[in-house]
């Protein structure tokens, strides 16, 4: 048995999706995105293994990870909440939404809750400019967010997780 290796899993899982340039450097981003998706971050060991697989230096992998804001070398919360702070959102009260999240989660923007469930971040335009204030919850875009509805949204996410765990 080989040791648990993120890279080999990716090849199995993601192999089907990827049509072009299978083993070349050009696969780096989809590979990293896949690890980020499944683990919530990209560890040093992952980077080392990916570098070996693609035949490049780990520092090159690291430099790519640090360039993209959706890729991270540190572990983030299970759920990632990104509040858009673009102008149309600010005009429609995104600052109140951020405050509401900070209060409900008892953290500041950029932090992760102690139980590792939630990370709160700010982001630029997310293409929901006509439905401001808007946020991104994990992969989903949510518009017209009312500060008063924030608590319920968080409770919903926590519950959904527990239900899944029971199954």
């Amino acid at each position: 048995m080989k040791p648990e290796c993120a890279v080999e899993k990716i090849i199995e899982e993601g192999g089907k999706k990827i049509v072009v340039c299978d083993t070349t450097r050009a696969r780096l981003l989809p590979v990293l995105q896949d690890v980020q998706d499944r683990k919530g971050y990209i560890s040093d060991k992952d980077m080392q293994q990916i570098a070996d697989m693609l035949g490049i230096h780990p520092v090159e992998v690291y430099s790519v990870v640090t360039f993209y804001s959706f890729l991270t070398a540190e572990k983030k919360g299970k759920h990632l909440i990104r509040v858009s702070n673009c102008m149309p959102n600010v005009m429609k009260g995104s600052e109140k939404v951020i405050k509401a999240f900070e209060k409900a989660l008892k953290i500041k923007v950029g932090q992760t809750t102690e139980d590792g469930q939630f990370t709160l971040e700010e982001t630029g335009c997310i293409g929901m400019c006509d439905r401001a204030p808007a946020i991104m919850v994990d992969n989903e875009l949510v518009g017209n967010v009312k500060p008063g509805a924030v608590k319920k949204l968080i409770d919903g996410l926590s519950k959904a997780k527990k239900k899944k765990a029971k199954k």
């Binding site: 780096l28 993209y68 293409g127 006509d130």
Partner: protein, 401 residues
């Protein structure tokens, strides 16, 4: 089918009408029709699409690629999102026609990471089209025309919308823009000729091929054929995506969207410029107010310096840091607008800011740094009532220290 209505993009069209006709006509004729239509890029820069494709055609190479730029990151733009959600088949058909015209067998849809929840739906559409013979081998039964599309996701970097940064990103690198020339049509993905076009540009193509360049040119102005999708946000009653013929005035847009009280309109997103009320007669077109589609409306009570600060904060976050004018200039402009807001900015300091802005516009490596100062400059010039200069002559100016 979606219920939207509009002159070109949202007009009715049979699925695959464009690609079928393209194959009947032959690739040379497709190229001629696109050139003749005077279609210009809808992603912001407005480069003639037919001309771009013809460069890719004459470039000699074993392989060629087509890229649809769905990175849509310009603040205030969400029209590509609507197209991706509601007209994905038309986008892919446009890409296939582009592939046919330039001789590419592979296309990428570079989708911004923020839109990733669309991926399953888009994949489904792709496989539907493969089954329908509009993608894959021998498209529409044509011998020798194979073309397929792969979806690639961005990872939250605005600068990757810039075509050379996008290609770097596709190649698995940091999304840092390259020097141009060479342009992607000569040296693109993995060094091969690559035609990069915006989602809306691709969507216009099947319409042009199916209905003819003459029809397309009946809409718009002389220099700007066809229509434009606008993404309208901010202080108005009816924000959303509108398809309008080129030549529409700002005033007409405000009327259409219920924004009677507007005092300013930011056209072209954070990289665009801010239009004051006295210029609301200006027209959306490549000749006058050029935009990738972003229209942000500001009501009576807004101070435009807040907008300038917001935009510069965005650029500060998104600058790739590769070249000095942008990396060092954006933070200075940001500090400058804050000084201006506090009423501590002197005339001399303001002049320095404007001259820095000019340096950035000409010396930055890519469009991000070149256009980062635009909003601030237009606000300083067009909204003098929104700030007061300090009379105090400050010895040390942020600039020199």
């Amino acid at each position: 089918m979606p219920m939207r209505q509009g002159p070109v993009i949202f007009s009715e069209i049979e699925p695959y009408a464009g690609i079928k006709k393209a194959i009947e006509m032959g690739s040379g004729a497709v190229l001629d029709e696109v050139k003749d239509s005077n279609l210009k890029g809808r992603g912001g820069a407005g480069f003639p699409t037919g001309l771009k494709w013809s460069f890719a055609v004459i470039a000699e190479a074993e392989r060629k690629f087509v890229v649809c730029n769905a990175d849509e990151g310009e603040p205030g733009t969400f029209k590509d999102k609507v197209l991706l959600e509601e007209y994905p088949g038309l986008i892919f058909e446009g890409m296939a026609i582009a592939g046919f015209a330039v001789g590419a067998d592979c296309g990428f849809l570079y989708l911004r990471g923020e839109y990733r929840s669309m991926v399953p739906m888009l994949e489904k559409k792709l496989s539907e089209m493969r089954t329908g013979g509009a993608l894959g081998k021998k498209i529409m039964g044509a011998d020798g025309f194979d073309f397929d599309i792969e979806i690639r996701l961005g990872s939250g970097a605005y600068v990757c919308g810039e075509e050379t940064a996008l290609i770097e990103s596709l190649e698995g690198n940091r999304g840092e823009p390259r020097n141009r020339p060479p342009f992607p049509v000569n040296t693109g993905f993995l060094g091969y000729p690559t035609a990069v076009n915006n989602v809306e540009t691709m969507t216009a193509v099947p319409h042009i091929i199916a209905k003819g360049p003459g029809w397309f040119k009946t809409f718009g102005t002389e220099g700007s054929s066809g229509s434009k999708l606008l993404s309208v946000s901010g202080d108005c009653e009816k924000p959303g995506v509108y398809e309008v013929p080129f030549g529409i005035t700002v005033k007409e847009i405000l009327k259409m969207t219920g924004a009677a009280g507007a005092r300013a309109v930011q056209v072209g997103g954070a990289s665009g410029c801010c239009v004051p009320k006295k210029e609301f007669g200006r027209k959306i077109s490549f000749e006058d107010l050029s935009t990738g589609g972003s229209v942000m409306i500001f009501g009576r009570e807004r101070n435009m310096l807040d907008a300038a600060e917001n935009f510069l904060r965005f650029f500060d976050e998104e600058s790739c840091g590769q070249c000095t004018p942008c990396r060092e200039g954006v933070p200075v402009l940001l500090e400058g607008v804050r000084t201006l807001k506090r009423g501590e900015c002197t005339k001399g300091y303001l002049d320095d800011l404007l001259s820095l802005a000019e340096s950035m516009q000409c010396a930055s490596k890519c469009g991000l740094g070149q256009s980062a100062p635009n909003a601030l400059v237009s606000i300083i010039n067009g909204f003098k009532g929104d700030y007061k200069l300090s009379k105090k002559i400050k010895e040390e100016r942020a600039f020199h220290g």
